[in-house]
């Protein structure tokens, strides 16, 4: 997509869509360069007060150990968004890849894969993630794999429906008659035509994964200290809720603006596509 076309499609967005796009852009930039802007080292105890309020040296207050909330937020956002994005990318690549195999492969491959995915889909995602964590533990890499694995079936189902539909289209039939190989048909005939709905699905998976990982971290089963994502920040500062400390409000607000922002952007996208 060229830059000009991208900007034009932005102009077609509704107000909610633009707000969503702004929020997403803000968080992506924060995850990329945020930690460089942190005023204090992430783990350093810099404030003598715990649960300090907003001040000039600690713009977002201090946490339950007197650490700078802004610095911890900037690093936590990188964990949340980095883990969420890489897990969502992995889930979509595996899900879509398997969907293409199912759509183009033999009837048996399709039947087996679909049955297996349907089974995984009928396990609630949190339950599946908890069982996986109990079995394998929760290092950063494992968390990424577990989150991706949990959301592969949802992506597979949508991608398979799209691919099976496209597989019947005339241009695919023509490509097959030309004698193109299955790999070529999958990658250059079918995949480019399902990229738009898949992008929307990627956004949804990202939101689900961020929610899942934050919830796991909040339960103490996700990202382990000293690393901390946004969910861990809410967890460790939970006792500050009695005072309404910024240390708990700000990470909570961060998660909310991230997920609501992506949702608003996706919600506005199909309308922009139809125009």
């Amino acid at each position: 997509m060229s830059v000009g076309r991208f900007l034009r499609s932005l102009r077609g967005l509704s107000l909610a869509g633009r707000i969503g796009f702004g929020l997403v852009l803000f968080w992506v930039v924060t995850a990329l360069i945020g930690p460089m802007l942190a005023p204090h080292p992430v783990g350093a105890f810099v404030d003598r007060n715990v649960f300090g309020g907003y001040s000039s040296s600690f713009p977002l207050g201090s946490d339950y150990l007197g650490r700078d909330v802004l610095s911890r937020l900037l690093s936590g956002a990188r964990y949340t968004i980095g883990l969420g994005a890489s897990a969502a990318i992995a889930a979509c690549m595996v899900g879509t890849g398997l969907a293409l195999v199912a759509a183009l492969g033999s009837r048996w491959t399709d039947e087996l894969l679909s049955r297996f995915m349907d089974t995984l889909l009928s396990i609630p995602s949190k339950i599946l993630a908890l069982v996986l964590i109990a079995a394998f533990g929760s290092s950063l890499l494992l968390l990424m794999v577990i989150a991706a694995f949990t959301y592969v079936p949802g992506n597979y189902r949508i991608a398979r429906a799209l691919a099976v539909n496209l597989n019947q289209m005339d241009f695919v039939v023509a490509a097959r008659a030309r004698g193109e190989r299955a790999l070529h048909i999958a990658l250059s005939e079918i995949l480019p035509n399902m990229i738009h709905p898949l992008l929307a699905d990627f956004g949804l998976r990202f939101v689900f994964i961020v929610l899942l990982l934050s919830a796991l971290s909040f339960l103490g089963l996700g990202v382990q200290p000293p690393a901390a994502d946004l969910g861990s920040l809410v967890r460790e500062n939970i006792s500050g809720i009695v005072e309404g400390a910024p240390a708990i409000l700000i990470p909570a607000l961060a998660i909310a603006t991230l997920t609501v922002g992506v949702n608003m952007l996706i919600d506005a996208l199909p309308h922009a596509g139809r125009k």
């Binding site: 089974t119 609630p124 949190k126 394998f136 339960l219 998660i255 909310a256 609501v260 608003m264």
Partner: protein, 328 residues
């Protein structure tokens, strides 16, 4: 068109067969789910005996423990024993508490059921009310406000909703206690007060989705020709919705309610943990932390079965509501 009584009973039989088929499919899915849960938690992680004894154990010790734990038998046999035990209510021995898993669950399950039941009683009427009000006010100011509110609720993690609820009701307004400890001899009033926060948090999580789906179900009916006919007859919108649209959308709404109630399961995990509520979900989280596999497996299977049951109810409701799905 009038159906002969003969065709009617035949239709009824067909319907019964169809529903039986769905029930059968759910049972098959449950067995496959059990297979997946068992494979993930028992087969893949490696040797439980080795792990229990640590690195310094001798091969003889490990072999002895393996035999004691039944790990030397083939995988399918272990799965069979485990699944058969679950059906008979014997889920094995908890590794941490050193008592039968069944006893622990029997103690916790009623608490979770009470929480779920009260939440359903609170959330369903409220959500239906919001959904119907939103649909009646379609594209109006109220509808758009409710749309944004419910959309944000869907995107918010449950623990944020619960934390915010604590902040508002316990800290700022000081109406309710923030920990749901129900005393043994509690009266109904005390019970309700202790449960208010968890119920409020869970209800908000479930309601948003339910209200959105209810609105969609009613809006779907509003575009039908019979509604246009009623409008042209000069009926008021309120009358049209209450006496014409609602009876027609009972099926989809019931479907929406069953689907949304499945959010109770995920929500319960967070809410029970936050409020220290002694239910099944917090038991499961503890089982994960202490890696108590038999307990974890039993809890996971109960949740999966509940989820599948809700999906089945939603499915059957959709069939009952739409005659076209029936008479294929």
């Amino acid at each position: 068109m009038t159906a002969s009584p003969d065709a009617h009973t035949q239709g009824g039989r067909q319907l019964a067969l169809m529903i039986l088929g769905r029930i059968g499919a759910s049972v098959v899915t449950l067995i496959l789910v059990a297979l997946v849960v068992f494979a993930i938690s028992s087969l893949l992680p490696g040797d439980a005996a080795q792990e229990a004894l640590g690195q310094s154990a001798t091969p003889e010790q490990i072999a002895a423990l393996r035999q004691e734990m039944g790990l030397d038998r083939p995988a399918y046999e272990r799965f069979g024993t485990w699944a058969w035990g679950l059906i008979g209510g014997d889920a094995g021995q908890s590794l941490v508490a050193n008592m039968p898993v069944g006893d622990i669950i029997r103690e916790r399950l009623p608490n979770s059921l009470i929480l779920a039941a009260i939440t359903t009683l609170v959330a369903v009427p409220l959500a239906l009310g919001i959904g119907i009000a939103s649909a009646m006010n379609r594209d109006g100011r109220l509808d758009r406000a409710l749309n944004i509110a419910t959309l944000s609720m869907v995107a918010l993690p449950e623990f944020l909703v619960a934390t915010l609820a604590v902040l508002i009701f316990s800290v700022w307004l000081q109406w309710l206690p923030s920990i749901a400890l129900v005393p043994e001899e509690a009266g109904v009033a005390e019970l309700l007060k202790a449960l208010a926060m968890p119920v409020a948090a869970l209800a908000i999580v479930v309601m948003a989705q339910m209200a959105r789906m209810t609105r969609a179900a009613i809006i779907d009916q509003l575009d039908r020709p019979y509604v246009e006919m009623a409008v042209l007859k000069g009926l008021s919108l309120r009358r049209i919705i209450l006496t014409h649209v609602l009876p027609n959308s009972v099926g989809p709404i019931f479907n929406a309610v069953a689907l949304s109630l499945s959010y109770l399961l995920g929500g319960a995990i967070i809410v029970e943990t936050i409020f220290n509520y002694p239910g099944l979900a917090s038991l499961m989280v503890n089982a994960v932390t202490s890696r108590d596999m038999p307990l974890l497996q039993a809890c996971a299977m109960i949740f999966c079965a509940a989820y599948l049951a809700l999906m089945l109810i939603a499915d059957v409701a959709a069939i009952l509501a739409n005659p076209r799905l029936r008479n294929q």
